[in-house]
C-alpha cells in the first residue's frame, strides 16, 4: 500500500457491528455482489492481482477495489483511493457501487455511511490526504515522531 492511498473496507449495511467480530462484519455472500460486478468492472477494469485469492478491480498503484476470497467465501472487500489522481466523478462512482451492494465504509474501526461529505472529510484527515497535500510538511511532522514508527 502506498502513502497516497486512502484505504478502507466495505462492509454490509445489513450487519450490526455491535453484535459481531470484525472478521464476521467484513464477510459477504457472493450472491450479494453478483448483480453489481458488471457495474464495478465498468468503473474499475479487472486486473491481475498479486494473489490468486484476490479479485482486483483497478490498478494496484491507483484506485482499486479488491475482493478477498477464502475458498468460495468472500472474506472482505477493500477499497484504496489514489489521492494523487482521484476525480470527483470516480469517487461518486465508487460510492454508488458501495450503495449498490448496500454497503458501508469501515475505516479505523468505525462504520460510516457512504456519503460524499463524510468520505471527503475522512480523506482530508487521513495520512494519505495530508501527505498528498504537502509531502514535505508531512515528512517533517513524521521525522519528529519517527522513533515511534521505527521498528
Amino acid at each position: 500500500m502506498a502513502l497516497w492511498h486512502f484505504s478502507f473496507l466495505i462492509v454490509s449495511n445489513k450487519k450490526s457491528p455491535e453484535n459481531m467480530s470484525i472478521d464476521q462484519l467484513c464477510e459477504w455472500e457472493p450472491k450479494e455482489l453478483a448483480l453489481s460486478i458488471e457495474y464495478l468492472q465498468n468503473i474499475l477494469p479487472i486486473e491481475k492481482s498479486w494473489s490468486s485469492a484476490i479479485k482486483q478491480y483497478g490498478n494496484h498503484d491507483g484506485t482499486n477495489i479488491k475482493i478477498v476470497f477464502d475458498n468460495q467465501q468472500i472474506v472482505e472487500i477493500s477499497c484504496s483511493l489514489d489521492l494523487r489522481t482521484l476525480t470527483k466523478s470516480l469517487l461518486a462512482q465508487v460510492l454508488q457501487y458501495i450503495e449498490l451492494i448496500q454497503g458501508n465504509i469501515l475505516y479505523n474501526g468505525i462504520v460510516y455511511e457512504p456519503t460524499m461529505e463524510k468520505i471527503i472529510a475522512l480523506m482530508k484527515q487521513s495520512d494519505a490526504g495530508q501527505f498528498c497535500t504537502n509531502p514535505r510538511e508531512y515528512l517533517d511532522k513524521l521525522s519528529k515522531s519517527k522513533d515511534k514508527l521505527k521498528g
Binding site: M1, A2, L3, W50, D70, G129, L139, K146
Partner: protein
C-alpha cells in the same frame, strides 16, 4: 487566489482553450517550489511551441501526464510510433528543443538516419566523458546514458538525443536547470526495473510513514506470498533530511521484518512522485 491544476483544467473546458491551461500551468510551475516537479518543468517548455489538442486534456485527466504531453506535441514531434512509449526519448527531444513530427509510418532505420544527420554522433564513452564536464546537468545525462548502456539499450540510439542535449546544455542555462529538475524528479529511477538504481538495503534503514492499512487476512496472504516468492516488487522510498522514508511498500517492509529478512529490494524515488493534488481539487 489559490488554484490547482484541476481547477485550471476545468476552466479550460469552460473556456475551450488549451492556451489558457498552459499559461496557468506555466505560472504554476514558477510558483511551485517543490523541486523535481517533472510535469511542470516539461509543461513550461511546451508553452513555447504548443498546439491545441483535446487528447492532451483527456490524457492529462486520466493521469497520464506524459501521454498528454505527447498528444500535445502530436503536430510537431516526429518519431516512429514504436518509440512513442519511451518517455525518456520524448523528454530528451523536448529538452533538446527540437521540433519533431510524429510519423507512424516512419521506420526505425529512417529515424536513426535522420537523427544521425541532425546531430553529429560520437562514441558513447567519449560523449559521457564530455557530458560529465558540463556540470551537474551534464552529469545527469551522462549517468542516464551510462545506465541505458548498462541496461543493454542500443547506445547509438541514445547518442543522438544526448548529443543534442549536450549542445543545448552548452548554450542554454534554462535547459540545464530543467535537466537538473528532471534528475531530482527521480526520472532515472523509473526507467525500467532492473536498472542499477534498484538496491538492496537493510530494512531497518527504512522509516515507515503510515500504519498498517491491510486487514489481518490480506496481510497474512501477503506474508505467505513473500515467504514463498520473496519480495518481487521494490519498496519505494524518498530520502529526506538524510533519512529514508517509505512511500510505497509498507506492508512488504513489515512482512520482511517479521520474516527476518536482512536485505530488501528498494528503489529511491523523489517528491512529488507523480505530481500530487489535494482533496480540495475534487471540488471543481
Amino acid at each position: 487566489m489559490i488554484y490547482s491544476k484541476c481547477a485550471a483544467l476545468r476552466q479550460l473546458y469552460d473556456q475551450g482553450g488549451i492556451n489558457f491551461y498552459l499559461e496557468k500551468l506555466a505560472a504554476d510551475s514558477q510558483r511551485d517550489q517543490l523541486d523535481g516537479n517533472l510535469l511542470n518543468s516539461v509543461v513550461k517548455l511546451l508553452c513555447d511551441f504548443s498546439d491545441q489538442s483535446e487528447n492532451y486534456v483527456e490524457k492529462f485527466q486520466n493521469g497520464n501526464y506524459l501521454g498528454g504531453v505527447l498528444s500535445l506535441l502530436g503536430g510537431t514531434l516526429r518519431l516512429p510510433k514504436t518509440l512513442l512509449l519511451n518517455r525518456i526519448n520524448i523528454l530528451s527531444a523536448l529538452l533538446s528543443g527540437n521540433k519533431i513530427t510524429v510519423d507512424s509510418d516512419m521506420s526505425y532505420r529512417e529515424f536513426d538516419k535522420s537523427f544521425s544527420e541532425h546531430w553529429n554522433l560520437i562514441p558513447a564513452m567519449e560523449t559521457i566523458d564530455q557530458m560529465r564536464k558540463d556540470g551537474p546537468a551534464g552529469e545527469f545525462w551522462a549517468d542516464l546514458l551510462q545506465t541505458l548502456i548498462e541496461m543493454g539499450t542500443d547506445p547509438m540510439f541514445w547518442l543522438g538525443l544526448n548529443q543534442g542535449l549536450k549542445n543545448k546544455l552548452a548554450n542554454d542555462p534554462n535547459t540545464a536547470a530543467y535537466a537538473d529538475k528532471l534528475q531530482r524528479g527521480g526520472f532515472v529511477g523509473k526507467i525500467k526495473p532492473g536498472a542499477k538504481v534498484i538496491e538492496t538495503i537493510d530494512p531497518n534503514e527504512l522509516i515507515p510513514t503510515q500504519k498498517m492499512t491491510k486487514s489481518n487476512r490480506e496481510f497474512q496472504e501477503l506474508l505467505e506470498q513473500i515467504k514463498k516468492n520473496g519480495i518481487t516488487e521494490t519498496i519505494k522510498y524518498v530520502e529526506y533530511n538524510g533519512e529514508k522514508y517509505v512511500v510505497d511498500g509498507h506492508h512488504r517492509l513489515i512482512a520482511a521484518k517479521r520474516l527476518g529478512f536482512t536485505k530488501v529490494p528498494a528503489e529511491r524515488v523523489e517528491l512529488p512522485y507523480l505530481g500530487y493534488k489535494t482533496v480540495n481539487d475534487l471540488f471543481w
